[in-house]
């Protein structure tokens, strides 16, 4: 349900645009907000209720390709919610308490697992670098 906190043991995936993945390596820019963004868009993997990570990723690929143009070098970064929150809380200078909240979207594209990382700011390069350090797995964003 919208606004639910995603449990720390669960996982989220972040779509990383090709311009944020030079030479196949995801950079901190993938975890920065646009000027008009309130939160960093992610997808809640366990919410998809699939039997495997591959199946979760396959579902996300479908959603992303319906939503926007997925570049050939785009990637998905998988993160553990608790690890991201703990890392940023303990290692950011202002002990930032990030919240990862469910934010399902049912507008143009049905995206029920859509969620957001909240309490980020526009000039959070240091926090973006910390989040980058917690990336556990990466996958191509399109087959």
């Amino acid at each position: 349900m919208k606004g639910d906190k995603i449990p720390d043991q669960h996982h989220i995936a972040r779509f990383c645009r090709p311009m944020q993945v030079p030479d196949g390596q995801i950079q901190a820019t993938a975890f920065m907000l646009r000027k008009d963004e309130e939160c960093l868009s992610v997808n809640w993997l366990e919410f998809l209720n699939r039997s495997s990570r591959e199946s979760e990723i396959a579902e996300l690929r479908k959603i992303y390709s319906a939503k926007f143009n997925v570049g050939a070098r785009a990637k998905l970064a998988v993160l553990n919610v608790g690890e991201v929150r703990e890392k940023v809380l303990t290692e950011s200078p202002d002990r930032r308490n990030l919240e990862v909240l469910h934010d399902p979207q049912y507008k143009e594209v049905y995206d029920p697992s859509h969620s957001g990382i909240y309490n980020l700011k526009q000039d959070d390069e240091l926090i973006a670098e910390l989040i980058l350090e917690t990336v556990r797995e990466t996958y191509p964003a399109r087959k």
């Binding site: 311009m19 944020q20 030079p22 030479d23 901190a28 646009r34 570049g71 070098r73 390069e125």
Partner: protein
């Protein structure tokens, strides 16, 4: 910049120009710009000296303005910015004194094309950030080649990494500022990490970060 157009004509920007690809934002921006000029013209008249020559110039300017119904479009602005981006990348490729300038220019072209592939109406790379980046590398020619990516606002973000725990990243802002991040081992407690972020104009970035030992491992 004729030489730039020629140099890149066969390998740069493989996409459909926004001029040929109208998009919803164009008319909005046109209106904003038109309003700006229409509002600013009377202010200019009031504040200008009243010499005969100036009066004549102003009359010409004002009388011609309404005839040009469509002076700017967002596509025009984008094309103009893209010309500047091409020019700056050309200068990086040909005039900065780093051994990897060709590779650096190619990386920028790739990023530009990646951004355009996703959204042809986007900036690709913001001109101000590229100018800032170019100035930085003009002054610092002994730096190792960074990894570069683009922020969501199409600004250049350069990162140097060494080992597991050394990071120096610079976000080149269009206004000449640079926001930087440093991660490095704590000198007295090597198992712990020292982290700092800050902002400086690009021309004093080196002297700002040198006390943290960054220059020792990002330069050759």
């Amino acid at each position: 910049m004729l030489e730039v157009s020629t140099a890149y004509s066969d390998k740069f920007i493989d996409y459909q120009s926004p001029r040929r690809q109208p998009h919803p934002g164009a008319s909005d921006l046109k209106n904003i710009i038109s309003q700006h000029f229409l509002l600013s013209v009377p202010m200019h008249i009031r504040s200008s000296p009243t010499s005969a020559v100036n009066q004549e110039d102003r009359d010409v300017f004002i009388s011609k303005w309404p005839e040009k119904k469509d002076p700017f479009t967002q596509a025009d602005l984008l094309d103009s910015e893209e010309d500047q981006v091409q020019g700056l990348i050309f200068r990086i490729r040909t005039s900065i004194s780093v051994p990897y300038r060709e590779s650096l220019a190619n990386k920028l072209v790739t990023l530009f094309n990646d951004a355009k592939e996703e959204d042809s109406a986007s900036l690709g790379i913001a001109v101000g950030t590229l100018r800032n980046f170019y100035n930085f590398f003009q002054f610092h020619t002994n730096l190792k080649c960074p990894t570069i990516s683009l922020t969501p606002e199409y600004n250049i973000y350069a990162s140097w990494r060494a080992g597991q725990n050394r990071v120096f990243s610079v976000h080149f802002l269009p206004n000449g500022d640079a926001r930087f991040v440093i991660f490095k081992p704590n000198d007295k407690h090597p198992e712990r990490q020292f982290r700092i972020a800050g902002t400086a104009t690009t021309d004093i970035l080196k002297e700002t970060v040198v006390p943290f030992g960054v220059w020792n491992w990002i330069s050759e």
